[in-house]
């Protein structure tokens, strides 16, 4: 049974660091506030151990902060074709994301749970038709011929007598036979086993053979 607990200890990314610095100084998210914490931000990232990808993200924000601060000092408004992000707006959006992360954290404390048991409900269906059964028998026979024969399973006579009445009914279904169909009813299991053994015995005694996908009786 698995659930998740969220770790909210560390900040992540330049936006997170900016929010932390603003919070530390008790400042709102405005262009003026961002100008005030620019130096702190630069000092902070200079001490950080960043990988190349993180460095790229932090440097972009650092450059943007520095540019905005310089513009504020000399009182220059961004031009209309300025495609840079609005840092204050972006930061407000990120703050929303952080709040949502907290919502998810709270929700995740009471997860729903499903059954934890994996049931093999959908086993692969084994379709056995006449050619396949015949082929299996022939392969087995070939393999057995190379070994000394030590015993017989049961006499042919026993099987044939036992299933005489049901044999014709089963043969009619042999063209597209599904073992699942018979096995799905517990009472049929013994019949199915006897039936298969009978078929094998009859193939072995050459009482039936496979032709065009079905078993046919040998004419004697």
């Amino acid at each position: 049974m698995t659930s998740f607990v969220l770790d909210l200890d560390n900040f992540q990314g330049p936006f997170d660091l900016l929010l932390k610095l603003l919070d530390q100084e008790k400042l709102e998210i405005t262009d003026i506030s961002l100008a005030k914490i620019t130096d702190d931000f630069l000092d902070y990232i200079a001490q950080m151990d960043l990988d190349i990808y993180e460095m790229n993200s932090f440097l972009y924000v650092a450059a943007k902060l520095s540019l905005d601060k310089s513009r504020a000092v000399v009182n220059i408004k961004p031009s209309e074709d300025d495609t840079d992000i609005d840092l204050a707006l972006t930061l407000k959006q990120y703050q929303v994301i952080k709040n949502r992360a907290k919502i998810l954290y709270t929700l995740s404390r009471t997860p729903m749970r499903a059954r934890d048991i994996k049931l093999d409900l959908f086993p692969a269906k084994i379709k056995i038709n006449a050619p396949k059964l015949f082929s299996l028998y022939m392969d087995t026979k070939k393999a057995n011929q190379q070994k000394p024969k030590t015993h017989r399973i049961m006499s042919k006579k026993g099987y044939v007598h036992l299933t005489k009445d049901k044999f014709n009914w089963h043969v009619a279904k042999l063209k597209s036979f599904s073992i699942d169909e018979i096995m799905s009813k517990p009472n049929n299991k013994s019949d199915a086993i006897i039936f298969f053994l009978t078929i094998l015995e009859m193939i072995k005694s050459e009482g039936i053979f496979e032709k065009d996908g079905i078993f046919v009786a040998a004419s004697r």
Binding site: F4, P14, F15, Y53
Partner: protein, 162 residues
């Protein structure tokens, strides 16, 4: 046998979500009828602390969130942690899905590659293709983790323009 009975029986026996297509096929009903059956089943399941959650592809029978702590204590199950970056990434996806990695990175100001890998590994998000672009959306596993039956139940969901 009622459709509700059949539906609950199928879902009860599986520990995995079942596709809505398979349910429709087995219950011989279209998607609208299936949704109605799920709604009716949830009314009956409510008194025994269970609920069927669905997204646009799958459905699963789960315990209601109010039983979470009790079940956790009973089975003494150790919770797995989800990191802050993964949580933020999940938040972006949940509220703005489907959304591309580039859009997520832009909102977070940093690469979300590792977080996305973790979330994909935990089946909390999945890739969906929209207009030949890979985007990300939340899964049924996400709903289970959050204890909600739809993303619309998330606080503030739909309050903004995407």
């Amino acid at each position: 046998m009622s459709d509700i009975g059949k539906l609950v029986a199928i879902l009860f026996c599986s520990s995995e979500p079942i596709s809505l297509n398979a349910l429709s096929k087995n219950l011989a009903s279209d998607k609208t009828k299936l949704n109605e059956t799920i709604e009716q089943a949830n009314i009956k399941l409510d008194i025994i602390g269970l609920i069927i959650i669905i997204n646009d592809k799958k459905a699963q029978l789960v315990t209601k969130p109010e039983y979470s702590n009790m079940v956790e204590e009973f089975y003494d199950s150790a919770p797995q942690s989800l990191s802050q970056p993964a949580l933020e990434t999940l938040g972006v996806i949940a509220y703005k899905q489907p959304i591309s990695k580039e859009e997520i990175d832009e909102i977070r100001g940093i690469s979300s590659e590792q977080s996305l890998k973790n979330l994909l590994n935990r089946d909390l998000v999945e890739k969906v293709t929209k207009s030949e672009q890979t985007k990300y959306a939340t899964t049924l596993e996400f709903l289970k983790l959050m204890g909600i039956s739809s993303v619309k139940e998330l606080e503030g969901y739909g309050n903004e323009n995407k």
